[in-house]
């Protein structure tokens, strides 16, 4: 490996890959059984954080940034005047192994521009993963990008070596895709996703019968959508997201605020702000869908197509549905507890546990760590002190915002924690 050339390539190909926000390296359960290198059984570790505060757990690079396509939102697009480079398969293997041995990373996240054809590109991605697994005895985490349009055979092979596969649909609506990436078809994204989904189901079924069936993409599939590039609203985004979760058993959908990289007038111009708060609200909605028992249509529908920016989506839902409140924490079921603004799932379980021993009052709730500043307007407990005024939604919202200015401002300045 010639150091200087690799160095130059790494700079170009890491820079081009950084807009893909998924960095998860957990959920694989690939153990080090062969006294080889690495282990991916744990939670996935963030070995460092970038200055923008994101977790660094994988070596995230493109195999090449040569591309035959011209998607407007992408730095790698054909018409963009940037330096191009391509790694050799062995170079990526060497970088991964050497970074891993130094405890820099949990594994590799390899994506690519499409050069020549989808299959030609996918073949090389698979070759990297295969080498790592079979020649280097590598048990760390591997995330491969499924190249839209790649053949079923290649996708099957990819799943044998990778822990996770993903295709980024990037643009949430068909109309948006048509406008920004006219030579790309939604079907091409879907095809590898369907293949991988079916293989996962099949391998899981076989695994039950024959123990030695190899693992197939044990950490599942994910995808990413770019937010704020093609004028779509939150309702459309979350509908698409919901559809992908349900139809393709996705593990995660990532939302990535569009970072302006082009003067193309179909897109937000360079210098316009990255919509980070909106991105955060979408993640919160995603969580409400996956862990809090909400149906997406309760939060976003024809009447409410945009998420509020000044309050989180659960509070916003509650304010629109005051007839469901107040909830009695001593009797309510888990579903309703989870709907109280300000109550995370952890607190919900703590309440359910604690109320077995005694009826809970405000003191108890404080002790188990329930943040009452939002929750107090929406619940009653073993106490006759509760909100008795018949407050309007606007009034409640005002009171809450007034008492949480610091947090609210933090949110605006890029704070990305969920329901903190």
């Amino acid at each position: 490996m010639s150091f200087q050339r690799t160095q130059e390539k790494l700079k170009i190909l890491a820079d081009a890959a950084k807009y893909d926000v998924s960095c998860s390296s957990s959920g694989s359960q690939r153990a080090n059984t062969n006294k080889g290198l690495g282990d991916a059984t744990g939670m996935g570790i963030c070995h460092s954080y970038t200055e923008d505060g994101r977790c660094v757990s994988l070596l995230k690079i493109l195999l090449t940034n040569h591309c035959i396509f011209d998607c407007a939102y992408c730095v790698t697009r054909k018409s963009n005047d940037v330096k191009r480079a391509a790694f050799k398969v062995q170079e990526v293997v060497d970088l991964t192994i050497n970074f891993y041995r130094r405890n820099y990373i949990e594994g590799l996240f390899l994506s690519s521009g499409i050069f020549k054809s989808a299959d030609y590109t996918m073949e090389r991605l698979v070759a990297v993963a295969k080498k790592l697994r079979t020649e280097e005895n590598f048990n760390g985490y591997i995330h491969l990008k499924s190249i839209p349009g790649a053949s079923d055979d290649l996708m099957r092979e990819a799943g044998l070596y990778a822990d996770r596969l993903s295709v980024n649909i990037e643009i949430p609506t068909k109309a948006g895709l048509k406008k920004l990436a006219p030579d790309k078809k939604r079907e091409d994204f879907i095809k590898p996703m369907v293949k991988v989904k079916n293989e996962i189901i099949q391998y899981k079924a076989e695994k039950k019968i024959i123990k030695s069936t190899p693992k197939f993409a044990p950490a599942g599939q994910s995808t990413q959508m770019i937010i704020g590039a093609s004028g779509e609203n939150d309702f459309q985004i979350m509908q698409t997201s919901n559809h992908f979760y349900k139809s393709y058993n996705l593990k995660r959908v990532y939302y990535s605020g569009y970072v302006p990289i082009s003067y193309d007038n179909r897109l937000p111009q360079i210098g316009s702000a990255v919509p980070m708060l909106r991105e955060n609200r979408l993640y919160q909605t995603d969580w409400l869908m996956r862990f809090y028992g909400f149906d997406v249509s309760e939060i976003l529908n024809e009447q409410h197509q945009h998420l509020d920016l000044d309050v989180d989506p659960k509070l916003s839902w509650a304010l629109r549905n005051l007839h469901e409140f107040p909830v009695d924490v001593n009797t309510a079921d888990q579903r309703m507890l989870a709907r109280i603004p300000g109550l995370g799932m952890k607190s919900v379980f703590k309440i359910i546990n604690a109320r077995r021993f005694r009826r809970l009052n405000w003191e108890h709730l404080k002790k188990i760590g329930v943040a009452l500043n939002r929750a107090q307007y929406f619940m009653v407990c073993e106490s006759n002190q509760f909100e008795k005024r018949d407050l309007t939604p606007e009034k409640i919202k005002g009171l809450i915002l007034q008492n949480s200015t610091s947090k609210y401002q933090k949110m605006l300045s890029n704070q990305l924690s969920l329901f903190g």
Binding site: F3, G53, V56, R102, M276
Partner: protein, 257 residues
């Protein structure tokens, strides 16, 4: 009654032997002190405890009977914090646990239990940090060497993680503050002490000790770290919350080039 000062050798077995002694002698008022940090009480009686594995095991067995798995590892984690006075807290916790019919480790209304749980949590956080922040550097004799200065004595806790993960390379993780390390020789992990040249700078990669390729990979890693950052999303406050400055010293990506 007069407080007895019990001095033990600083090991976990030593501490458990001390607890054994306390119960055996039915002592009520004691202060347990590590021999390295013990302060001589002028007017108190000092007893030096001899570490006996068998007694230690008996106490530990009792602990496991009386606490959940989580409770007993919390005790061990808290012990490794080396916070001054933690031994007395642990003893208080154990006395309470031994006297109760039911398992008490969730009873946070007891002050010692709450305190121990909090300390154990900080130690757990430090363990995870070290699993993330160890940076190995390849030495001339093909050993991957990492140096750390953790807030707490977490080497015993991270051994398993590194052994499982780096099964096919020799490595050393050295705790500079406490002057000992772990050495994995492809078979097993041993405790070890090393003599470093005077004024040895652990943060520098000196070509007298480290392999040539080490410089290249550090450079590549630094380049990668820079290239993967998105400037327009920069948020140093969040960054520092995740990677507090006191850890930067040994992070390859944080070295000035």
């Amino acid at each position: 009654m007069e407080t007895k000062h019990l001095i033990y050798d600083g090991t976990f077995d030593g501490f458990l032997s001390t607890v054994f002694y306390v119960f055996e002698q039915r002592l009520t008022s004691v202060k347990i002190q590590n021999k390295f940090t013990a302060q001589q009480g002028l007017f108190s009686e000092n007893v030096t405890i001899i570490t006996e594995e068998e007694k230690a095991n008996r106490v530990w067995k009792g602990v496991k009977l009386k606490l959940s798995a989580q409770g007993s590892y919390q005790l061990y984690y808290a012990f490794l914090s080396e916070i001054s006075g933690v031994e007395d807290l642990l003893l208080d916790y154990m006395r309470y646990a031994f006297g109760q019919q039911h398992k008490v480790d969730n009873d946070y209304s007891h002050p010692s239990i709450l305190k121990i749980a909090q300390i154990a949590k900080s130690v757990g956080r430090e363990k995870h940090r070290m699993e993330a922040f160890v940076r190995f550097r390849l030495t001339k004799d093909q050993i991957y060497f990492g140096s750390i200065e953790p807030d707490f004595n977490v080497l015993p806790l991270i051994e398993k993680h590194f052994k499982r993960r780096y099964a096919d390379q020799k490595w050393v993780i050295y705790d500079i503050k406490r002057g000992y390390g772990l050495f994995y020789d492809l078979e097993k992990v041993d405790l070890m002490h090393m003599d470093f040249p005077e004024h040895f700078d652990f943060t520098k990669t000196d070509d007298a000790f480290f392999a040539m390729q080490e410089f290249e990979f550090q450079k590549l890693w630094q380049d990668y770290f820079k290239a993967t950052n998105i400037e327009s999303r920069k948020n140093m406050k969040l960054h520092i919350r995740h990677v507090p400055k006191r850890y930067w010293k040994y992070l390859s990506e944080k070295q000035p080039n």
